[in-house]
């Protein structure tokens, strides 16, 4: 049987989609109007790193000391090997072991 989408679902998800897409495209289109030099440019250049760092730091800290150790190991492995997958697995292994042992 082919399910039907209820009108209210159509609207609710549709609005969520419009909001999300507008933010994605809006950010890009707004940024192209920003000045491309000086202080503003420096801020925009720092943005990706600052965003990514802000994304991870609270989840690292939430894991406590072992979270910091796992993140440090991940950083070392990626710096040494340039292999993101290996680095990710090393970090996960620390957390996996810690949780298994109930530390």
């Amino acid at each position: 049987m082919f399910p039907a989408i209820k009108p209210q679902v159509l609207v609710a998800v549709g609005l969520a989609a419009c909001v999300t897409y507008s933010l994605r495209l809006g950010g890009l289109l707004l940024a192209s109007r920003f000045p491309r030099s000086g202080r503003f440019r420096r801020g925009m250049d720092a943005l990706p790193g600052a965003l990514l760092f802000s994304l991870v730091l609270p989840s690292i800290v939430a894991e406590g000391v072992w979270g910091l150790m796992a993140a440090a190991l991940t950083a070392i492995v990626v710096l040494r090997t340039r292999n993101t997958l290996a680095a990710m697995l090393c970090g996960m292994l620390v957390i996996f072991a810690v949780r298994k042992m109930g530390l």
């Binding site: 082919f2 039907a4 989408i5 679902v9 609207v11 609710a12 998800v13 609005l15 969520a16 989609a17 909001v19 999300t20 897409y21 933010l23 994605r24 495209l25 809006g26 950010g27 890009l28 289109l29 707004l30 940024a31 192209s32 920003f34 000086g38 202080r39 420096r42 801020g43 925009m44 250049d45 720092a46 943005l47 790193g49 600052a50 965003l51 990514l52 760092f53 802000s54 994304l55 991870v56 730091l57 609270p58 989840s59 690292i60 894991e63 979270g67 796992a70 993140a71 991940t74 950083a75 492995v77 990626v78 710096l79 993101t84 680095a87 990710m88 970090g91 996960m92 996996f96 949780r99």
Partner: protein, 239 residues
């Protein structure tokens, strides 16, 4: 363009680690969605139209026979506000591209393929098709994960047991290390980190990403700079 296909494949390949964890998390969302009575079509509609993990979790949580349309839209707006900054940070990658190209590419931008692309761009080899290829691959992984969870009861119901929740943290950490540019990043890094931790403690949802990203960017804007400093000091009025 001739390099379209190889670039998309390269982007897809680079996203394999994040896609694996996205799939596992998708299956968790699928299980929750099944409990809320979503059909596979509802699920796929949401995957295709919204395509944003955290927002979809909240939407499924708010799902009911009488959809709270206004609250749901507002929640999605707040959770996804970070995409405004993510979109802005992609401006250099899209420079010289037309509006249609931008419109077509931006829908499939998620945290994961964005982060992979930013890290790739630091090596000077990212393209918009690399970003898009990663997005398509992520979409397929995310969608199959959600459907497996919805229809099959999920292959992983407790991802924490396998440290899969830390997979995102670990891979984003590895990518963040790749974005490091040198001493000039210390100030924005410290400011972003402090703002993110504070916002994470005191504000709900995903505000901490927005707060940290903005704080870091503003501190880089206001902070000292090795090369341009000389000319800009003159802007400061002297008494």
């Amino acid at each position: 363009m001739k390099h379209r296909k190889p670039e998309m494949i390269r982007g897809a390949r680079a996203n394999v680690p994040v896609a694996a964890s996205a799939m596992a998390y998708g299956s968790v969302l699928g299980v929750l969605a099944a409990q809320k009575g979503l059909s596979w079509l509802d699920m796929m509609y949401m995957n295709s139209a919204v395509f944003a993990g955290a927002a979809q979790f909240v939407m499924v949580d708010m799902w009911s026979n009488h959809m709270p349309i206004f609250e749901m839209t507002l929640a999605v707006l707040v959770i996804n506000l970070r995409y405004l900054l993510i979109g802005a940070s992609l401006d250099p990658l899209f420079s010289g591209r037309g509006l249609l190209h931008k419109m077509g590419m931006m829908h499939l931008v998620a945290d994961e393929n964005w982060a992979v692309t930013m890290s790739e761009q630091r090596n000077g080899s990212a393209t918009t098709w690399f970003l898009f290829g990663g997005g398509v691959f992520l979409y397929l992984a995310w969608s199959s994960g959600t459907l497996i969870g919805l229809l099959g009861g999920g292959f992983i119901t407790r991802p924490e047991d396998y440290a899969l929740d830390f997979a995102f943290t670990a891979v984003f950490t590895a990518l963040a290390v790749g974005l490091w540019r040198g001493k000039g990043d210390v100030l924005p890094g410290v400011v972003a980190g402090a703002a993110a931790l504070l916002a994470h403690k005191f504000l709900p949802g995903k505000w901490y990403i927005v707060a940290g990203g903005l704080a870091g960017a503003v501190s880089a804007m206001l902070g000292p700079c090795e090369i341009e400093e000389a000319e800009e000091v003159e802007d400061v009025p002297s008494y």
